[in-house]
């Protein structure tokens, strides 16, 4: 059984939601990170990458935050 593009996007969003919930203790903090322009993403805000369905880039930026990379 093949997975549709829409199903794949939904699965990616669910996985990312889980990672955000594990990273931040409040929705406000999560939203702040998503809306902040991030040099690791070449100046894009993670929310803009999500609109383009660039889930891998957002996950990578979240990992950089979690592992303490300086920007």
């Amino acid at each position: 059984m093949s997975v549709t593009v829409q199903e794949r996007a939904t699965n990616e969003e669910i996985a990312l939601d889980r990672e955000l919930a594990a990273t931040f203790t409040s929705d406000d903090a999560s939203k702040r990170w998503l809306k902040t322009a991030n040099p690791i993403l070449n100046g894009d805000a993670p929310i803009d990458c999500l609109k383009r369905r660039e889930y891998d880039r957002v996950r990578a930026a979240l990992e950089a935050f979690n592992t303490g990379v300086y920007i």
Binding site: A22, T23, F24, T25, S26, D28, A29, R32, W33, K35, T36, A37, N38, P39, I40, L41, N42, G43, R57, A60, A61, E63, A64, F65, N66, T67, G68, V69, Y70, I71
Partner: protein, 192 residues
């Protein structure tokens, strides 16, 4: 940029030296303290080239700070807190899942660029290209790390190039602090 040296000049005229001391990192409590893999993400950090950077090749860096407060403030920059007014941090519960790790470090070959004007000037740049170029040049000269100014204005950062570590060099976790409130309070008071 007047009076600032070219990155190639800085590296060519620098002499590697040993360094030892204690440094701090602030990271998510679920991540290993000495994990530098996240630094390869995207463009990379301020002093290392990630997989999407124009600077090649990409290389890993473990970001640390001499002062614990600097380690904390460097990390909250990801959340957009870049104001020189450190009282902003008081309200943060965003770092509740974080831990401060103290690390004992003994390295044989680092470049001390704490007073380098070009790196100080680059702290205000949106692009990390130049800082990454300098760091890459140090990495290519087999430096194990670089001491650079901190964007927080508090002391300096030691950026460790984990793939260049000498057999005789040492990095060891000495302790971890999970309750960050006292440090947040000291940052708010301007105490380091």
């Amino acid at each position: 940029m007047k009076g600032l040296r070219d990155p190639a000049d800085i590296v060519a005229s620098s002499v590697p030296q040993p360094w030892s001391g204690r440094v701090w990192r602030c990271h998510h409590r679920s991540r290993a303290a000495l994990n530098a893999d996240g630094s390869l993400a995207g463009i990379g950090g301020r002093c290392n080239a990630g997989v999407d950077s124009d600077v090649k090749p990409s290389f890993r860096a473990l970001y640390t700070s001499i002062e614990s407060a600097a380690a904390l403030l460097e990390v909250v920059r990801h959340l957009g807190y870049r104001s020189p007014d450190r009282r902003d941090v008081v309200a943060l519960d965003d770092i509740a899942m974080r831990v401060l790790t103290q690390i004992d470090i003994e390295l044989q070959r680092i470049f001390d660029w704490r007073s380098e004007p070009l790196l100080r000037e680059n702290l205000s740049h949106a692009s990390y290209r130049q800082a990454q170029q300098i760091a890459a040049a140090a990495f290519n000269r087999e430096a194990e790390g670089i001491l650079v100014p901190s964007a927080t204005g508090i002391d300096a950062n030691l950026v460790v190039f984990v793939d260049n570590l000498d057999d005789s060099s040492r990095i060891a976790v000495t302790r971890q602090i999970e309750d960050l409130q006292p440090i947040i309070a000291s940052v708010a008071r301007g105490v380091r």
